[in-house]
Amino acid sequence: MAPESSTRRRLLASLLGVSGSVLLPSLHAAPAPLITRPIPSSGEAIPVIGLGSWITFNVGRDREARAECAAVMRGFFAGGGRMIDSSPMYGSAQDVIGEALQAIKPARLFSADKVWIGGGARGPGQIETSRRLWQVPRFDLLQVHNLLSWEEHLPQLLAMKKEGRLRYVGITTSEGRRHSEIEKIMASQPIDFVQVSYNALDREVEARILPLARERRIGVIVNRPFRQGDLTAALAGKPLPGWGAEIGCTSWAQALLKFIVSHPAVTCAIPATSNVAHVRENLLAGSGRLPDEALRKRIALDAGRLA
């Protein structure tokens, strides 16, 4: 879904003196505007905090849990969030997202989904099924999930983009898998996004993938920012060192997200949660001061020491 312009918001933003690079999250006032980053291939600004759906949104037909997911999405959009990421691999997550989108009807959605099926011939059918579940006219971004049959899917996605049926094309991996293949694709294919796992403790992508993304003007989406909750669980109860206040962080979760989105190659991080309070907290990490390189090193060092 293409971003829609909002004259009122823009007017209010200019009256408040907010720069064009930041997004005014809501007329009902979130504490601070979300920082945005330009998508390298287009220049379109996107908030640095997105919303993942792995595990958290796979709740089946559970009405109560679906309502909680919808509340998370409502809080996400109200706080200025825009990118939601899912996959056909995530069970009922796409259906849960689609139902919530119908109820919320967000002004600005950046829909990111994936194709995850063996063989290119079955790709278009799966994409159409996903689109129906999301209940969107088209996806903003489609990614080849974990490089499955990428040689067949990628040309199809690029053709869809050329025909105007898709805005961006990407590839994904997680947990450090197949990085050398990811690099080869980044170097040879005209992709807009690469999605990788990256956090204060898992920093392998800093060596080659993130520099390559900058060089090739490829946007970077970061998954598993909290190691699927293990990192925040390990740091629970450990006081945030003094540097937290310097960058306006009150929790480890915020500091860990700020560590990620402050990397100059990163476009956005997509933490997943089923908790409204957590989504608000995650969004807070997308505003205010970001750590500089020296502080990033300290965050990684302290997280590694305390986790």
Binding site: W54, I55, T56, N58, V59, G60, R61, D62, E64, A65, M89, Y90, G91, S92, W116, G118, N146, L147, L148, S149, S174, E175, R177, R178, Q228, S274
Partner: protein, 228 residues
């Protein structure tokens, strides 16, 4: 999916412990008071193990087959498939096990007494029917998340292994319950459930008892002409 070797178990687990248990909770709510019928059927099966005759053994196999068929349909296909893309395959496995158990009922023949097998098998089956639901009382949600034989897979598989041990069933009939115990323990371990070890432990106990007691009773088996 290609490159399976690059995936860990945690990468394949696509739902939270909360979703998993709420599924059991919803099933228990929707099927109540079916749990009473299921436990009663389980107790009848235990009773069948105490009776030596062919009709009792046939009844046990028939009821077990029904339990597997029902769990495959009502749990795996109707519920678990909502959050686990592998569940339809589990449903297929449970349906196949139901057919195998019913086939066993059809061809049940007189069995030479195997008291040690019977005792351990009875204990294992008893644990599946009577102890498993009590595990829920250790959590915060009480009976609502009780795991009941004939309603959810784990106690059904554990009870079945007990029965198969007691009745010295053909090893082929053991495969699916054993496989399920391994899958379930691995899943529960990833979900960090306290009693994740239980299905695997039941499987190991059943296998160990089966092997040891079969060896010990080999002369009896030979005299018995053929196993059931």
């Amino acid at each position: 999916m290609s490159q399976w070797w690059t995936y860990r178990l945690s990468d394949l687990l696509m739902f939270s412990a909360r979703s998993y248990w709420r599924l059991t909770e919803a099933l228990n709510r929707d099927l109540w008071p079916g749990q009473v019928v299921a436990v009663a059927a389980g107790i009848v099966i235990l009773g069948c193990l105490l009776r030596p005759g062919v009709p009792a053994r046939r009844s046990a196999y028939l009821m077990l087959g029904a339990a597997w068929a029902w769990v495959g349909w009502a749990y795996h296909l109707q519920r678990y498939a909502d959050i686990n893309t592998g569940a339809p395959y589990f449903a297929g496995g449970f349906a196949l096990q139901a057919l195998l158990l019913w086939a066993m009922a059809a061809r049940s023949r007189p069995l030479v007494a195997a008291p040690a097998c019977s005792r351990i098998g009875l204990a294992l089956a008893g644990a599946g029917v009577l102890m498993y639901p009590l595990l829920a009382l250790a959590g915060d949600h009480g009976w609502r998340r009780a795991e009941v034989f004939g309603i959810v897979p784990d106690p059904t598989a554990v009870t079945t292994l007990g029965v198969l041990l007691a009745l010295r069933a053909h090893p082929l009939i053991w495969l699916i319950p054993l496989l399920w115990c391994a899958i379930s323990s691995a899943t529960l371990m990833e979900l960090r459930v306290g009693h994740a070890w239980l299905p695997a432990a039941a499987a190991v106990l059943a296998i160990a008892a089966g092997i040891v007691l079969r060896r010990r009773e080999r002369p009896l088996s030979l005299r018995a002409n053929s196993p059931t």
